[in-house]
């Protein structure tokens, strides 16, 4: 269980990293946290000839909250989702997602950009980006492009990234007043790949306390994270009472057609996702009221 040989590149800045990727194209892989890439290299399921270690590229680190937008560098480590007070206030969904990502030792190193670029169908952060209405910022040979999260994920382990692209950052709106977030997932054991998981960001109307807007995203039910638009439509202009949450569950079950997995049948995934959706909507509404109070 040792990786095959490769040439190691450690660019000192973004342009050098892009130049190296441009030179080797499909023969090169970007090494960020390595918490998904190195296992598949150890198994020799991947054997890149060139590894481009971006961990010391300064342009990719840090996060800032300015002008109503949160911008998070691709090298944001998962543990920072839990430990940064500024991030907690601006994006309360992220500290709720963080504890579900791997284990503390994985979160020390694993990165936001790496998780999105790897695009595992059961990963938490791709779903969170959909719920946050995030934009993925990409730098390639012809400059910067910005892709909405909903268009970034294409299929299993496949994204809008080209071999000579680097995911540099994500951007999404700062939490608004009367907005609450929630996330829950079900896995065989804590830290395992999710069998099902749902993120919700809900905004309440300031006058009526009814749901003005809801963004709900499910993971591990398709080749890409999925917006649960039918459930969002059910919620608009209403309160999360038991009847409405029942309609949410039905709406989720009606639209999903998940592939069965080793530890979960398609029917189980559907029912679990529906139950989680109702649960996180209720929680997100409660959070929205609590934050407003």
């Amino acid at each position: 269980m040792k990786p095959s040989a490769f040439t190691y590149h450690r660019p000192a800045n973004l342009s050098e990293a892009l130049e190296t990727l441009g030179r080797y194209q499909d023969d090169a892989k970007v090494l960020a946290g390595g918490q998904s890439l190195v296992p598949v290299m150890n198994f020799r399921l991947a054997a890149p000839e060139h590894l481009v270690d971006i961990n010391r590229v300064p342009e990719l680190s840090g996060h800032e909250v300015a002008g109503g937008t949160v911008r998070m560098g691709a090298l944001t480590r998962h543990h920072e989702l839990l430990s940064s007070p500024g991030l907690r206030a601006a994006a309360p969904l992220l500290p709720l997602v963080g504890p579900f990502i791997g284990h503390p030792q994985i979160r020390s190193v694993g990165t936001l950009g790496g998780s999105l670029a790897h695009a595992d169908a059961s990963a938490e952060l791709p779903g969170a980006m959909l719920a946050l209405d995030a934009t993925i910022v990409i730098r390639g040979p012809s400059g910067e492009r910005r892709v909405p999260a909903g268009a970034f994920f294409r299929s299993y382990f496949t994204t809008a990234l080209e071999p000579d692209d680097i995911l540099t950052a994500v951007e999404f709106p700062v939490r608004r007043d009367r907005q609450g977030a929630a996330f829950r997932e079900v896995a065989a054991r804590h830290g395992d790949f999710a069998v099902a998981g749902v993120a919700a960001v809900v905004t309440l109307d300031a006058d009526t306390d009814l749901i003005a807007d809801a963004r709900i995203a499910a993971i591990s039910v398709a080749d890409v994270p999925v917006r649960l638009s039918a459930a969002e439509d059910v919620l608009r202009g209403r309160a999360p009472d038991p009847d409405v949450l029942g309609e949410v569950r039905t709406a989720v079950q009606d639209v999903l057609d998940p592939p069965p997995a080793l530890k979960a049948s398609a029917a189980y995934k559907k029912r679990t996702t529906a139950a989680l959706a109702a649960h996180v909507v209720e929680r997100a509404c409660a959070e929205a009221k609590r934050e407003a109070a």
Partner: protein, 162 residues
């Protein structure tokens, strides 16, 4: 043509320099090049936690880290825990007292994860202790005794802080 590379880093407080292939995992470099065999390799794909070391203050899987990535970093292994004459530190002593290990294969990684936790938070709750070792697999103890050992460490720390 992949060649070898020289890596200069600090291991257990001492500057070290090794020459390795880029594909050499940090765990293998520690064990083979530096003869620090306290760090164990179990699954070699980031699941079992036996190879956990501390890099720049955070617990990290050394089987998912290439040695070349450690350039300029500070690495701590289980060998750093005992005193100069081999006397066990407080956490190690509690593991011994509580029978927190049997075969000992997973123990170095668990000790390093807990060492990192106690530095950040000298008085963790039992829940925080369990969270910290959730990414470690032990097939001997059932975990309860090592949790007991860590809870006692936290309780003692709380007493000393008072």
């Amino acid at each position: 043509m992949t060649g070898t590379q020289t890596v200069a880093f600090v291991v257990n407080g001492e500057p070290r320099s090794i020459t390795v292939e880029p594909r050499t995992l940090l765990a293998d470099a520690l064990r083979t090049d530096l003869r620090l065999t306290g760090t164990h390799l179990g699954c070699e794909h980031g699941v079992c936690g036996a190879c956990t070391v501390i890099i720049d203050g955070r617990p990290v899987r050394s089987c998912l880290t290439f040695a070349v990535q450690a350039e300029g970093r500070e690495v701590e292994t289980v060998e750093a825990l005992a005193g100069p004459d081999g006397e066990l530190n407080s956490l190690q002593h509690r593991f011994q007292q509580h029978h927190g290990l049997q075969c000992g294969y997973c123990t170095p990684g668990i000790l390093m994860s807990l060492t990192s936790l106690f530095r950040d938070n000298p008085v963790p709750t039992e829940g925080e202790i369990r969270d910290q070792i959730q990414g470690h697999i032990c097939r001997c103890t059932g975990y309860q005794q090592m949790v007991d050992a860590a809870v006692e460490e936290a309780t003692t720390n709380a007493g000393e802080a008072r």
